[in-house]
Symmetry: C2
Subunit: 455 residues, 2 copies
């Protein structure tokens, strides 16, 4: 029989990886909750009518589709079947697909439950998503997203709170050297207006978005090919090269921009900076990055991206404000929202590289009780019950094995303490507590052990 | 545009339901961890070669299958395609399926990672599974399982620990009136041997398993049809009617059984009872139920089932010992294990019916800061920062709205406290803290508020 395997681009998470992942999830979840966000979970499968057309043609190709149950070929059009037209047949044999992101299901939920939702609605959602992308290093077909969004208000307080949340998450994870990049779609529009790119905004934003990756030369080339005149490209780079503090950049652009969109973007950013100041936050790790564009055309206001400095890993978080969350479902009400998403896999790699995972999260039980004979095992059961009653994660080795094997088990599972029980210990009523990390041991009472391990 | 919907048999879990579900998950997870179980997560999609044939023919039909990406019809056999033979074509156009339970993926994980696993391996797994079953009340197409298994030891300490874990989970959930039913496959074999049912064991166990549902008459009829003689059926019911304490039943059967299997089952149960006693547990809610059979033929030792008394809901938990977890993957090593699984949806219904969900889990933030003017909003930002720095989940209403609207928001989100800030409060430096449940309010300092809300 062939050795079993898992699908390409998917992963098992064993105990060691799970401990680390839970640390990341718990940190993000507790910050979200502290900021008043409430949990939502949507089904893994969505109707394809909900998913299709929401992510562009490329996205539609990357949806995992579920084969209908039963005799799924029964009503398929004969001509299409004979032509082996996979693409044309899909909608006849598949009605459901796997969640591609958390935003579309969230929008779908809001449309379906509008009457019961209290707005502004602050929801967070931590669930996996699936994309039939070609797997490669750091890109998986199943991965978690950790989203938080507020919808139903245009208040810029939400943007300020997103900056604060990012800081708290980073602090909770132990990451100290990071940059929160902030920009505004209005600022980008202001640039477009200034260099007279009306009608070619998308090409401009897409090119700017690549500045990090392909450099000034690459962007120039791309814009040239898109029909931008050399003097306009030069003007663009003059604007993008604006240096100074956030305030200095803002003032420089305020003097430059003639268009309303551009001025609105700058005044929104000023409000966000002011709100942060009013809440006692500084701007030390917040950078007004004029070249931050973020691909998704659906953002309409502030946009965010978070980079950990001195680590060769892309952004670990991103988000922004959008209008009309529910418009794609034909919803007429203007539901503006703003959201942020953390990439768990990238955060994992960052924490691993910077060795920031706390040691204790990789442990299982705090103590293993070992025994030398059957009677001592029974004695150990009482000790075990007392430890657990005190809330201490603990185990009794289940088999009558040599002590070495029992201690090996503790070592391999990274259990910090062992208690070894033999005839002597039973008679004395004192137990040998061994600190496996320090290699020290002492004979103490059960009460003392509980006191030591409870801290 | 049509209103969007979710697939039949799936559910959204909004904030209120999520709060309750997280309470159940957290309770189970913390007990599992206290008992030394470590987390595992496996991919949502498994190769169909891993899943198929593991759940019987019916199970295979209930697997959700993923349509291959790209031009999936390209290499499909023409004859089968023309014949519209859905069943025969499936394996050509689908390679992956959704996880059907947590046991098969666990076995697959053990086979793939045997070299790195420390045995006995205690793993827990809390993830959704999918079944293309006909949806009906209480039966969903996507639902969570919460499994804990120990593999790599035959020690009956594991069985005793499962009983203790069930008790701790129930206690953690606030359920006091419940029964843990325990039986042993050996006992069932002993009954089969006693009534001379050799070769017809499966029919016998399947019938016994239905005693709860179809009663004595129904079971008799079924056995009759399966070729059991009336005197044997009578003998069977005599055995099943054995009354008394666990110990009395055990002694009665010990005197009756001639077969080795039967005696082995009884002696295993004795050991489990003894270990529970040695650990200071009593048997008050543990019932040796001779008629407990549990459908799955793959159990080989002790079997468990948990019923909440006085609630018309089936079992909320079940499990047992099995041999050869990994045999279906051609693995030759004899990996015995024992496990338990909790049904979250049933526990949810039980806690709802018994009104056992703690009130505080349904809350979001602990306090909402309301404000009467722009300046007060800025003042509120500092208050907000101080509350959150103290770890208190809190929000500032994001929009300049009438106070009534702000308080409505607090009420709807079940936020217990509000702070209202106006000019007076800013000048005095004292804040009005309102207890929304009690309807009381008092003007206090921020420090006092933090003290009150931190408890």
């Amino acid at each position: 029989m062939e050795k079993p395997s898992i699908p390409k681009g998917t992963r098992d998470f064993g105990p060691a990886a799970m401990g680390k992942r839970q640390f990341i999830f718990n940190t993000i979840r507790s910050v979200y909750q502290k900021y008043g966000f409430q949990p939502l979970e949507t089904p893994t499968m969505e109707n394809l009518s909900v998913l299709t057309g929401k992510y562009g043609d490329e996205g539609d190709q990357l949806l995992f589709k579920i084969l209908n149950s039963g005799d799924y070929l029964k009503d398929v059009d004969s001509a299409k079947l004979e032509a082996r037209n996979s693409k044309a047949i899909t909608s006849s044999i598949s009605e459901k697909g796997l969640r591609y992101d958390l935003t579309v299901p969230f929008a779908r939920y809001v449309v379906m439950n509008r009457g019961e939702i209290t707005f502004p609605f602050k929801r967070y959602q931590i669930q996996p998503v699936w994309r039939a992308d070609r797997p490669q290093k750091g890109r998986y077909r199943e991965f978690y997203q950790c989203d938080a969004d507020v919808v139903g208000t245009t208040s810029l307080l939400c943007e300020a709170e997103i900056v604060m949340m990012i800081r708290e998450v980073m602090k909770g994870l132990g990451v100290t050297d990071f940059t929160i990049k902030i920009n505004h779609r209005g600022v980008l529009k202001g640039i477009a207006d200034t260099i007279e790119a009306t009608g070619k905004e998308t090409a401009l934003y897409v090119a700017i978005d690549k500045l990090d990756k392909i450099g000034k030369e690459g962007v120039s080339k791309e814009l040239s090919e898109a029909g931008f005149a050399p003097d306009k490209i030069e003007l663009l780079f003059n604007i993008l090269n604006t240096t100074g503090s956030n305030e200095e950049k803002r003032l420089a652009l305020t003097a430059l921009f003639k268009s309303e969109s551009g001025q609105k973007g700058l005044s929104d950013l000023k409000t966000v900076f002011d709100l942060l100041e009013a809440s006692g936050s500084n701007q030390s790790n917040l950078e007004f990055d004029i070249s931050l564009a973020r691909g998704l055309s659906y953002y309409t206001g502030c946009i965010f991206e978070v980079k950990v400095n001195n680590v060769a890993i892309g952004s670990v978080s991103g988000g922004g404000r959008y209008d009309n969350l529910t418009a794609s479902f034909g919803d007429k009400e203007n539901l503006s929202g703003v959201g942020i998403s953390f990439g768990v896999d990238r955060l994992y790699d960052v924490l691993e590289e910077l060795q920031l995972f706390p040691k204790e999260i990789q442990r299982s039980s705090k103590v293993l009780i070992c025994f030398l004979d059957t009677e001592s095992m029974r004695y150990g059961l009482k000790v075990l019950a007392a430890l657990r009653a005190a809330g201490i994660a603990s185990e009794l080795y289940p088999d009558e094995s040599k002590l070495k094997k029992q201690l090996d088990y503790a070592n391999k599972k990274m259990i910090s303490f062992t208690i070894v029980i033999g005839e002597e210990e039973r008679k004395e009523g004192k137990l040998m507590l061994k600190n496996m990390d320090a290699g020290t041991q002492e004979k103490v009472s059960l009460e003392e052990i509980i006191k030591t391990l409870s801290t």
